[in-house]
């Protein structure tokens, strides 16, 4: 098992290298000369040349790349021009907000998609099956930012049930000490249930928005995987052995259908990371998505690059975790290692 984990971590290194190469190439493809840009409009040619040497832009591309990789590995991701703070610091303070939102959205998606998929798979061709299919087709067709606005309009403006789409906490709430950075956990740790409730209310609509988007692929995959497993011989054996129906479905079938689900979950996680940017904009959510948007609009390249790199690294880790989950779930894979 340990050997498998180590080997899988080693196998993630080429992916990380790919991520670094792409971010490096994108940084080089930037329009204009960064040195001229940094020096400002009134700089002399000597000053620009000086900056170019400081940045290492006069060196050959391969050497620049090695410099870049070593900088990134040492945690030196440059400074954000807009805020004057190191990019790593900016990203670390904002990442928990994005992750909290992503996890909440995925939690909702899984909580709805699993029952939906199981219901349709156990009753193929029934009314429930058709309704589930329509819901999931609608789910993939809705642009995330539009779902978000629609939810805001209905639940904030029309019904008044939800708070204004303005960040993670209402202005009046006192932010708890940051332990994990996840407000839902920190407030509980601080024993501040009032703020916890406020945070739950605040995260509900954005999480729903992400969840609706993530629901469709999960529901489809659950249905397909369950249908396949339910027609297998061992399920027939379980049925003829007169095992209770719930046990057949939830214990025998679901565990066997779980592996393709983990793969889909990893893929959906990547979608949601991308969709996060849009949802964060709609709900003024102070995560790395809205940070990246500000950076994009002010041409703050170090910040954009940091954001892309963070996303790439996150996704490599998500893939690593889904692989490990599959191994934990399926002893057959373990035997082949």
């Amino acid at each position: 098992m340990l050997r498998f984990i180590l080997r899988r971590i080693l196998a993630a290194i080429p992916n990380l290298a790919g991520v670094l190469i792409i971010t490096f190439l994108l940084a080089r493809a930037l329009p204009g000369d960064p040195a001229t840009y940094l020096a400002g409009p009134s700089a002399s040619l000597d000053a620009i040349e000086q900056i170019r040497q400081n940045l290492g832009l006069d060196k050959p591309l391969l050497e620049q790349f090695i410099l870049y990789v070593s900088d990134m590995c040492r945690g030196d991701w440059g400074t954000s021009w807009a805020t004057g703070l190191p990019v790593t610091e900016e990203i670390f303070t904002r990442l928990p907000a994005s992750l909290e939102l992503t996890f909440a959205g995925l939690f909702f998606a899984v909580a709805v998609a699993l029952p939906m998929g199981i219901l349709s798979a156990t009753r193929p061709g029934s009314l429930i099956d058709h309704v589930c299919r329509i819901i999931s087709t609608l789910g993939v067709s809705l642009p995330t930012f539009f779902t978000g606005l629609l939810l805001v309009f209905v639940f904030y403006y029309l019904l008044g049930w939800a708070p204004a789409p303005m960040g993670r906490l209402p202005l009046t709430a006192i932010e708890p000490d940051a332990v994990t950075g996840f407000l839902l956990i920190d407030t509980l740790l601080a024993g501040d249930f009032e703020t916890f409730r406020a945070a739950v209310v605040q995260i509900t609509l954005p999480a729903l928005t992400l969840g609706i988007f993530a629901l469709a692929p999960l529901a489809r995959m659950t249905r397909a995987a369950m249908l396949q497993v339910l027609s297998a011989d061992f399920i027939r054996t379980a049925r003829t052995s007169n095992l209770p129906r719930w046990k057949i479905i939830f214990v025998y079938a679901l565990r066997n259908a779980a592996n393709p689900l983990f793969t889909t979950l990893g893929m959906v996680f990547s979608f949601t990371l991308g969709a996060n940017v849009l949802v964060e904009k709609v709900f003024s959510w102070p995560g790395i998505g809205s940070f990246a948007l500000e950076a994009l609009l002010t041409s703050d390249y170090a910040a954009v690059q940091g954001f892309v790199l963070t996303m790439g690294i996150l996704y490599v880790f998500v893939n690593l975790i889904t692989d490990l989950l599959q191994v934990l779930n399926d002893p057959r894979i373990r035997m082949n290692i």
Partner: protein
């Protein structure tokens, strides 16, 4: 009527959504060609006496914050949205199919290079990669097209590569080789025609996704600039007025976007029904 035409009609008749999708496609094509001509008002004209009017008979979708007719802008935007999506999908279809076919046919070094490339692209959340590409190539509509094309490449490469390597050792390819056909000729004349249906299904599902992607990019302020009419940017412009109750500015372009994507998704399902051999009994 040939048996294939009969089969197409049979598939369409047996699924309401497929019929709706074909109807929607006709409507979209009409709007793409004639949208600006059909619009009742000039999409750029700001009417001082008609600022943020709710939907009425004169303005079916209301007017926006500077007094432009939302309905006319939606009709107008169809052409831009469709041309972005079509050219992006077209680019990645052609490039992806060619790369995938050659990688699947010749294998070896080229194949492993291509697989690495695909893995690297897929190592990012695709929307983030598109953002990064547009940010570094420059903020323009053309670059939105390139970015969308690049992030869709892996899907075409994978599908074509898999289909070609399955057929690569079959007897008709062997026969073609023995008759003296060259590799590229076999790919273009014998292999690609066989996998066109699979690619078409992929492309149709992909179109909806490309539209969402392009609209998402312009929603966050990349690519299309105001005052140009595009569904994503129209939703973005109307977003701030939703909380104060002027819902029509963002709602109607959003619905247009949703219906278009829905249409392509159903169309993809319909095409799959038509080309899936299991249903063609």
């Amino acid at each position: 009527m040939s048996s294939f035409t009969r089969h197409v009609f049979f598939c369409l008749r047996s699924n309401v959504f497929s019929c709706l999708a074909v109807g929607g496609l006709v409507l979209l094509a009409t709007l793409t060609v004639a949208g600006p001509a059909l619009a009742p008002y000039d999409a750029f004209q700001c009417m001082d006496d008609a600022i943020m009017l709710p939907p009425s008979l004169a303005h079916p979708c209301g007017t926006d914050q500077v007094g432009r007719d939302v309905f006319s802008r939606i009709l107008m935007a169809c052409r831009l949205d469709m041309s972005i999506a079509l050219s992006a999908v077209g680019l990645s279809l052609v490039a992806g199919t060619l790369i995938g076919a050659f990688a699947g046919y010749y294998g070896k070094l080229f194949d492993s290079l291509v697989s690495r490339l695909v893995d690297t692209i897929m190592a990012f959340p695709l929307f983030v990669l598109a953002m990064a590409i547009v940010a570094s190539l420059g903020n323009s509509v053309a670059n939105i097209v390139y970015a969308t094309a690049i992030i869709n490449l892996p899907f075409y490469i994978r599908v074509t590569r898999a289909e070609v390597s399955v057929r690569r050792n079959s007897q008709f390819v062997e026969a073609a080789l023995i008759s003296g056909n060259s590799g590229p000729r076999i790919i273009f004349r014998h292999l690609l025609p066989n996998i066109i249906p699979t690619i078409m299904v992929q492309a149709s599902l992909n179109l909806g996704w490309a539209i969402l992607n392009a609209a998402g990019l312009s929603f966050i302020g990349l690519g299309v600039r105001p005052p140009d009419a595009e569904w994503g940017i129209m939703v973005a412009e109307g977003a701030q007025y939703i909380v104060s109750g002027e819902w029509w500015i963002a709602l109607f372009p959003g619905i247009a976007l949703m219906l278009t994507v829905l249409c392509f998704n159903f169309l993809g399902d319909a095409l799959r029904d038509i080309f899936d051999p299991r249903r063609r009994a």
